[in-house]
Symmetry: C2
Subunit: 112 residues, 2 copies
């Protein structure tokens, strides 16, 4: 095998960002700049509790910013990407592209 252990693309992925639901949250936030909790819950097919747990992980890591307020009389929660969140998502994309490239090269690497 010619692959250097530390260079395998999945070793460069951050579990905080890569986890399926959180990757979805970051992607939607990246696209919309500011996302309402209920919209996100529907878009990703989650329960409110499950979404809240993932948002807490992302907020603690400094990747999103949560804002509470009102829309008329209804309490609303919005979230947006922080600059660190934008960079983390970009890093994920970079590693995923390397990974896809390895997969699509198939079995061309010599086996030893």
């Amino acid at each position: 095998m010619t692959t250097e252990p530390e260079q395998h693309p999945v070793n460069g992925l951050d579990d905080v960002v890569h986890q399926r639901v959180r990757l979805g949250i970051l992607t939607v936030a990246h696209q919309a700049r500011r996302v309402e909790f209920g919209f996100l819950r529907t878009a990703l097919g989650l329960t409110a509790g499950n979404l809240s747990q993932h948002l807490a992980v992302l907020e603690k890591a400094g990747l999103i910013q949560v804002e509470k307020g009102y829309e008329g009389k209804r309490a609303r929660t919005w979230l947006s990407l922080t600059p660190a969140g934008g960079r983390a998502l970009q890093d994920e994309v970079t590693q995923l592209k390397r990974l896809i490239q390895q997969i699509e090269q198939g079995s061309s690497a010599p086996e030893s």
Copy 2:
């Protein structure tokens, strides 16, 4: 928002395949056809116990096939992708490409 909830790319990702370590296992197995346990453990920087747990998940899902044998007097474990594993990895790549495309389109989607 123009995004249809059920069409968000992360909703099409399978957690069994998408999880970082398992995605690494499937990728290495795809490239090498037949991978030795110790090689994989080093390549992905895992403990033997952690790797075994992830292999059990993949084997139970029918995505890899585990084979035990000897190399000289040393017990060895090899694994290889099943046809279903190859298809699952291809599906993951397809969804990841859609996701990357959405991310790289950035905030061009209208916000409402």
